[in-house]
Amino acid sequence: MKSGKWFKLYIGVFLVFLYAPALLLPIFAFNDSSIVSFPLKGFTLNWFNVLWETEALHTATKNSLLIAVSTAIIATSLGILAARASSRYKFRGQKAVMGFIMIPLVLPEIIVGVSLLVVILQMGFDLSLWTIVLGHVLICTPFCVAILSSAFLNLDQSLEEASFDLGRSKLATFWLVTMPLVLPGVVSSMLISFTISLDEFIIAFFLAGTEPTLPVYIWGQLRFPQKLPSLMALGTILLILSLTLLATAEYFRRRSARKTGIEDAGGFL
């Protein structure tokens, strides 16, 4: 078991490496110094106050939330359609079509941003929050398709057939049987696209018109050293927010797994 010990040591070091940046966030968020560096000074809530008073940040946050919610809804809807088609039907060209839809997963985001920018400008449209939504939906859809495909595949097809056999229409079957049973997948899909969109920088950077999103706003602030401590506070809030979202999603997934008696198949992704 000597190798096991070395292994554990490595895993420990790895986890420190993995978590180091995230752990710094709360440390500097409460550090009473306008320079982000060690040694630490005192404890303060001042940086959160600064956030509270920054008007531009609030606007950027609202923009980002609007974009993230729209993206989550649209990408998940598109994901449901594609995932359903790929998991329940066989049709010619299926592999090619699904592969094509999944391409953004391996495409550098800068390419997506650049190409959308070119098209939108060539077509004479103005850049706005909605052009960002277009880009975000594109990169989130593959994630939604992946999550929802596994949800649909885990669903025993004879449940739907049973519903149809018992006299329900296809539509009623979808709402009464399919949807309730893939709901955890739908919730994860929404959450993941929400989180990806909220955090996405490059595409928003290229496609943002005059209205910045939260990451674009943060990018602008990173240049000013005096703004850094309040950004740490902001990062802390974002971290807590996404962890809460994840935990909630996990809770709902487990609860519904318990309720429906489906074997716990593990977490997200």
């Binding site: 004879s158 329900r168 309720k259 008696g261």
Partner: protein, 361 residues
């Protein structure tokens, strides 16, 4: 006899280039317990799903209760199905599962409640209505699936290997319960199974399928005693095959010379598929006897050497190599009082008669 409840005529089913059903024709009688029996992959499920309306036929017609089912989708056919996996909706209680089809019919609430209670009682699940469906055992789920289908009073109940997921004891219990239930409700049951014993004990009639075709459709006795060909005979029970040469007989009988047994004249009804050059003689193990003791007699006698003995307590199975035949035949004997069991390499006198033999193509 009443009109058939289901009439299948000329059904072909293709999956791409693969033909799963070849020209299937059958009539299923009102109120009978009908089984589809056959080896894995022979098309039983496909045929059942064709009747239920889950698969479109490539050619041919399904008629239920005199109505053509062309273009009638599964949700409007007077059939209901019990799935192999039971397909109990995991997010609903037992009662909600059973009420599922009734709600689609817009039945008033209190009537639904009474119907559900009756159906649950019928399958022996009285008082289980509020249970979460995933908290039920395999056998109980099976009953829920039955209640859910029967509560709709279908003309035909379709069951796809409903017992295969149960352990042996539970399966035997459910077999007799299913049989009783079918008699009580009087609905036509069509059961898919690959277990010949299950089919023989439960059914009024059985269709044996091979490679997408119905090999024989008959009552259990007829299937066992008068299989129409070698394939059916091999699939149902054990059958010994011996070479035979048929020298002509009258129209009603055939004069045969059977390897290892000898010459005999066989009535034509023991050659249900007719006779040609490919014909062989088939003998069931219990149609041969081992004669022991001086005073044991039989109509005819052959002899051989015991190759193997399988002792089962109430029965003994012998593999006996008849003189002049190179593969052994199986003979089963009941172990009655005073009957001695032979051992390997013993010489055996084998008794048989004309009625023991079938001529099969």
């Amino acid at each position: 006899m009443t009109d058939p409840i289901i009439r299948l005529s000329g059904i072909d089913k293709f999956y791409g280039d693969f033909q799963a059903l070849h020209d299937v024709n059958a009539e299923i009688r009102t109120g009978e317990f009908f089984s589809l029996l056959g080896p894995s992959g022979c098309g039983k499920t496909t045929l059942l799903r064709t009747i239920a309306g889950f698969e479109d036929v490539t050619a041919g017609h399904v008629e239920i209760a005199g109505q053509s089912m062309d273009n009638v989708p599964a949700n409007r056919r007077p059939t209901n199905m019990v799935f192999q996996s039971y397909a109990i909706f995991p997010h609903m209680s037992v009662a909600e599962n059973v009420a599922y089809g009734l709600k689609a019919r817009k039945m008033p609430k209190d009537q639904i409640a009474t119907e559900v209670a009756t159906a649950l009682k019928q399958v022996g699940l009285e008082g289980y209505g509020e249970r979460a469906s995933h908290a039920m055992s395999g056998g109980q789920r099976q009953r829920v699936a039955l209640a859910r289908a029967l509560v709709l009073k279908p003309k035909v109940l379709l069951l796809d290997e409903p017992l295969s997921a149960l352990d042996k004891k539970m399966r035997e219990q459910m077999q007799s319960e299913l049989r009783h239930l079918q008699r009580a409700v009087g609905i036509t049951f069509i059961l898919v199974t690959h277990d010949q014993e299950e089919a023989l004990t439960m059914s009024d009639r059985i269709a044996v399928m091979f490679e997408g075709r119905i090999g024989q459709l008959a009552s259990p006795q007829d299937l066992y005693r008068r299989p129409v060909n070698r394939k059916v005979a091999e699939f149902i029970g054990v059958m010994n095959f011996l070479d035979v040469s048929v020298s002509d007989g009258t129209g009603d009988t055939f004069d045969c010379d059977i390897a290892g047994l000898g010459k005999v004249t066989i009535p034509a009804e023991q050659a249900p598929g007719g006779v040609d050059a490919s014909v062989t003689a088939g003998v069931r193990p219990e149609m041969l006897t081992i004669l022991s003791g001086e005073n044991a007699h039989s109509e005819r006698e052959a002899s051989g050497i015991v190759e193997d003995v399988y002792y089962y307590g109430d029965m003994t199975y012998y593999d006996v190599k008849l003189d002049g035949v190179d593969h052994p035949v199986t003979i089963s004997m009941r172990n009655t009082a005073g009957r001695s069991v032979l051992s390997r390499q013993d010489r055996a006198r084998v008794g048989w008669g004309a009625e023991s033999v079938l001529l099969l193509k």
